[in-house]
Symmetry: C2
DNA sequence: CTGAAAGCGCTTACAG
DNA sequence: CTGAAAGCGCTTACAG
């Protein structure tokens, strides 16, 4: 037996060893044409003995499939992902990873290096090189130049998180407008009228804009005026929540409730109330988004924004797109959110007992989709 | 002008449009053979106009290069990565990402789905399909079956984080043994003799084993006995730190200092001391690993374990390997760590003033490598 | 059920 | 400096 070093085993090796043609090997291996059981057995014996796997480049060249899907997103430590306390980026990756693994797709990552709304040479290069079959985009705001390039080259695309519902693109996201409305509504139902809002980040981010709008709409619908001094643009730091609280509570007419844009901000608010002996929820009620461990730990009422589910459903949708022959209308999938009520927004009549979770939907997250 | 829809532009299109042969296009594009300036200009005009990029599969088939490097790691939300408070996984990805972006490599991710020390079909498949040029492994413990397969196929490999120094593999890591020794030594120098240790996780994890050994060695070197009841196997939760403190402080002879295996555990310890009116550092001194935001926030003395640097240097090393013709001895690179002293381990003579950082090496992280 | 042949889009000797 | 040709390892009509 001659041992060749290093060279990878090819379909020719299998064919020779099994005494058949390479087409037969291909047919057997892929189950793409009928092959006699006997020869099939012979072929697979050799395949397994030699640990044969088709070279991905060669196969990709003819099938025009790479089995790679690309995730395009800001760097993991950028402020888009830097929600302390909760692994937003990890959750997203986990969701995507689980689906791709199961479907035998590989995950290729391309960072949005140049900052928001910037040109994106790397992704564009990958598109033109046809290095993947489809792409998953997760950006703070929509970049139409990428979307156009993707469409031109017929690359299936799903936008996850921060989806602009108005465009005819496949999206998977939480409905930030709706959940912000719901969270504000929760405070209104507790009797609050002076409700302030902290934006989770700059308003250029779609998530932030949507949450602000949801808050405003809830206020208007309740017949209340939206006051500019009740709106604070925060960021990913705890201290931005602290500063927001400081600003609000220094007003002549301070709010009786705050909608924090994210849990870490809510923690900042609590820090302020502790320092200034403001009782929560008696004097100041507090609700937030994310429902991360932080919210649980500090007894903050919060609404879930499940990045894990978003990643998972996004990946699923993309794969479905890849295996579809005929085009269909773009789908906008919304991941349900559950409001988890805790001590920070308990009705005042009830005792301020340890946090109580009272949510219907927070566990069983189902997905529904609607045509656009 | 005839507009063809959808078909990607190939080297043939460029050749036809520029009136040259495809070899000349290839030579010009890759700068791999001299081409007359005039024809070169003509070719590049067409290339730019048509946005040509060589098909990656076709190119990969002949060059045997994919420009992909694969990261093999547990799922991002697995307990290996679930250090709350700090984005270990994000930091790692960030470091890797920056280097690869700059060098025009793509990042392919393969999760270690089956748990620790398990068979790993996915990675093995990618190896055999030759879907990448090299791999970066980041696992809680070494898996020799993978390493063997990698070697068989001549795949360059770098192990980052959790590296077993004994084997002849390229590694990049913090020296967990040394930093644990250093951190314990710090307490010894403050006069402590009864020092307890909380393991950051199960001892099967190399990181944990190394840190425990470093602690033990420091104790022995100081002529102190290592007591079994001074060792607690913690995990990634805050409460494991709390429970460790509880166990230690209930001993007949409680320790006067604790080495927490990670910052989140140190926070748990502080929670316990607060509840039980134990003054830190007077009655109980505390040091930890990671030097995350948690350590800073709570004034905990901690030693840096820079995953960002580890990722970065790991990626750099791997790329160096890829571009090297002749083999060289395996390299073990250690990322320097800096001890950041804060209030939790202040010498008792000094006032318990707000945290003071006193570290020489924590900022300027340089790398040195040694042959093995 | 099986094989010979073409072709995917490139790179790379080899001539000239 | 440029072109014709072979070949990378596969899949897929096309015959038989």
């Amino acid at each position: 037996m001659i041992k060749k070093k290093k060279r990878a085993v090819t379909i020719k090796d299998i064919a020779r060893e099994a005494g058949v043609s390479i087409s037969t090997v291909s047919f057997a291996f892929n189950g793409t044409a009928p092959v006699a059981q006997e020869t099939k057995d012979r072929i697979f014996e050799v395949i397994n003995r030699l640990n044969y796997r088709p070279n991905s480049a060669a196969r990709g060249l003819v099938t025009r499939k790479t089995n790679n899907i690309c995730l395009f997103t800001p760097h993991p430590t950028s402020d888009f992902f830097s929600f302390s306390g909760n692994g937003v980026f990890s959750d997203l990756m986990q969701g995507i990873g689980e689906v791709l693994d199961q479907k035998d797709y590989n995950l290729l990552i391309s960072w949005d290096t140049v900052g928001y709304k910037a040109k994106t040479p790397k992704l564009i290069r990958l598109i033109r090189e046809q290095a993947m079959d489809g792409v998953l985009i997760c950006l703070p705001s929509q970049d139409s130049s990428i979307i156009n390039e993707l469409n031109e080259h017929n690359f299936p695309l799903v936008i996850i998180g921060g989806a602009d519902k108005s465009s005819a693109v496949n999206t998977v996201d939480v409905d930030n407008h709706e959940i912000s409305y719901r969270v504000t509504r929760h405070l209104l139902e507790l009797g609050h009228k002076r409700i302030a809002f902290i934006s989770p980040g700059q308003l250029e981010f779609l998530v932030c804009e949507d949450r602000l709008e949801g808050y405003k709409e809830a206020m208007s619908d309740a017949g209340l005026k939206v006051r500019d001094d009740y709106i604070f643009i925060g960021d990913e730091t705890e201290s931005s929540g602290y500063r927001a609280a400081e600003a609000f509570m220094s007003l002549k007419e301070p709010p009786t409730a705050i909608v924090a844009g994210r849990d870490i901000q809510a923690v900042g608010v609590l820090e302020y109330t502790k320092e200034h002996d403001i009782s929560v929820p008696q004097t100041l009620a507090l609700v937030s988004f994310e429902n991360s461990q932080l919210a649980e730990k500090h007894g903050i009422t919060s609404i879930t924004t499940n990045l894990y589910e978003i990643g998972k459903e996004g990946a699923k949708l993309l794969i479905k797109l890849l295996n579809r022959k005929k085009e269909r209308a773009a789908q906008n999938m919304v991941i349900p959110s559950g409001l988890v009520v805790r001590g920070s927004s308990q009705p005042q009549s009830e005792s301020s007992a340890p946090s109580v979770a009272a949510s219907t939907e927070s566990i069983s997250v189902r997905t529904r989709s609607r045509k656009q």
